[in-house]
């Protein structure tokens, strides 16, 4: 029987956010089952369920914000509203790109100003700039009109779950838990849409999920001890997905959803498992890696 401490961690990391996502999807999504109109609430459901998990893991944010994690709800809500507004008003590609650049730069500035007031070492600035730049590029790559690839949700789950392990192993169990919250919400969404609605994540849904993951990766990189290679690898898996998804169809000579999912899982799990192995090895044999 797991201890109450472990049960509490699981409750806050998995059960609460997954239950919140399931309830929200059931409350708002059932009338879209079988309808021609697409379900528009992905971004809202992901943001709201993740916020429920955030409060369970971190508590209420300090007001005014004291540290980077206190900004997370505001950034998540800003992302949700921004992506929703861009979709609602049908902004053009250039406009979307410029606004996303402003959003990513503004969010990174909010998160990093406290760090740079103490630490302006070139290595710190270079790492922060690298992660921010990859965040923007990944967001831009996945901000495509229409439905994304159905396997993106599954890939995103593995990346978020991978970051949960990597963050917890490299100095922040709390950041690992928050990434676990995101993984639990996306997993719930995948199950719902896979079994009930059969729709991939919308543009806004992808944007909101990516915003939360990127904030966690940036904080883990700059305030925790997550290695830069691990952060870049996780972003790269997401960024490369657009190239890999069509490739999976060619290589497996099948456009069946199962084939795409299998290909995505193999491609995601192999590098993440390797990364976790190296991190565990480095913690067991410090100095070797």
């Amino acid at each position: 029987m797991p201890s109450t401490l472990v049960l509490g961690l699981l409750l806050h990391t998995v059960v609460i956010p997954a239950a919140a996502a399931a309830l929200l999807l059931a409350a708002t999504g059932l009338r879209f089952v079988g309808a021609a109109a697409r379900y528009p609430g992905d971004g809202v459901v992901i943001a709201a369920a993740c916020l429920a998990g955030y409060v369970g893991v971190y508590g209420w944010p300090a007001s005014p914000p004291l540290q980077a994690l206190d900004w997370l709800p505001l950034l998540l809500l800003s992302g949700m509203v921004s992506y929703g507004a861009l979709d609602r008003f049908g902004a053009g590609r250039v406009t979307r790109g410029v606004l996303m650049a402003v959003f990513v730069a503004g969010a990174a500035a909010l998160l990093l100003v406290p760090l740079f007031s103490y630490d302006r070492k070139p290595a710190t600035i270079a790492a922060a700039a690298t992660v921010t730049g990859i965040w923007f590029l990944t967001a831009l790559i996945h901000d495509q009109p229409g439905d994304g690839d159905p396997s993106f949700g599954v890939l995103f789950f593995f990346v978020a779950a991978g970051n949960a392990f990597i963050a917890a192993l490299t100095g922040s169990v709390m950041l690992g838990q928050l990434s676990g919250v995101l993984a639990a919400v996306v997993a719930t969404w995948c199950l719902w849409h896979g079994m009930v609605q059969r729709r991939p994540l919308t543009r806004a849904g992808r944007g909101v999920a990516l915003t939360l993951l990127a904030v966690l990766l940036l904080i883990g990189q700059c305030y925790g001890d997550t290695p830069l290679w691990a952060t870049v690898m996780l972003f790269a898996l997401l960024a490369l997905h657009r190239a890999v998804a069509p490739l999976s169809v060619c290589l497996m000579r099948s456009d069946a959803l199962f084939a795409r999912l299998l290909f995505t899982v193999v491609l995601a799990v192999a590098p993440i498992a390797t990364g976790v192995y190296f991190i565990v090895r480095a913690s067991v044999h410090p100095g070797e890696f």
């Binding site: 401490l5 490299t170 100095g171 922040s172 950041l175 883990g220 001890d225």
Partner: protein, 205 residues
């Protein structure tokens, strides 16, 4: 006669053989110096340390330490209102005898040392309680939050050192609640109450 002289010499040698180390040992007995503790003192980081204990899983009092303590204190026994204490401790000097735990505690879950690299205590008032004891009131800034704290203060001793200087030392003990400083993670497994013990030696300026 000759044998008597020899016996006397042997007795004297034996007496000296025992007496010299005994005298040396008597000179090495540790004594608390009770000199004047007034003045402004620079904290000697080599002979100062901050210790803490915190409850772990409801079964033990786990201990850790901060190895670097810097700052100054001023004592004016005639005017206790003029007493001053200013102590700064870098979080990076944390040591809990396990590297991974040091990393965890210094990270975003607890001290968030990259954003809040030091803790800082400023004494605001000393209330004497007897000859060597007092209550030290002040403000502790930890994790970006400043709160009033209260320490029991014990003056250990004061006096000249072997290098021509003059030193004075204190032990301050108290308890804080980490949640009051915004460190609320894992309160179910790691206690809210943290016992602090600050061991300070200062060199008079």
């Amino acid at each position: 006669m000759k044998s008597q002289q020899l016996f006397s010499a042997a007795a004297l040698a034996a007496t000296l053989a025992f007496a010299v180390p005994t005298a040396a040992q008597a000179a090495a007995v540790y004594k608390v110096q009770t000199g004047n503790s007034n003045g402004t003192f620079q904290i000697d980081p080599v002979h100062s340390i901050a210790l803490f204990t915190i409850g772990h899983l409801g079964v033990s009092e786990f201990a850790g330490r901060f190895d670097k303590v810097t700052g100054t204190f001023t004592v004016d026994s005639a005017h206790p209102g003029r007493d001053k204490v200013d102590v700064e401790i870098p979080i990076a000097s944390l040591d809990t005898n396990y590297a991974q735990r040091n990393t965890d505690l210094s990270g975003p879950d607890f001290f968030n040392a990259k954003q809040f690299p030091t803790m800082h205590f400023v004494g605001t008032r000393v209330e004497p309680k007897g000859k060597e004891d007092a209550v030290l009131l002040g403000k502790l800034t930890l994790h970006g939050i400043t709160r009033p704290v209260r320490f029991r203060l014990h003056h250990v001793g004061a006096g000249p050192d072997p290098w021509g200087g003059y030193r004075s030392g204190y032990v301050a003990t108290g308890t804080i609640r980490r949640s009051q400083f915004g460190m609320t993670y894992l309160l179910g497994g790691i206690s809210d109450k943290v016992k602090l013990s600050l061991h300070i030696e200062g060199k008079r300026q």
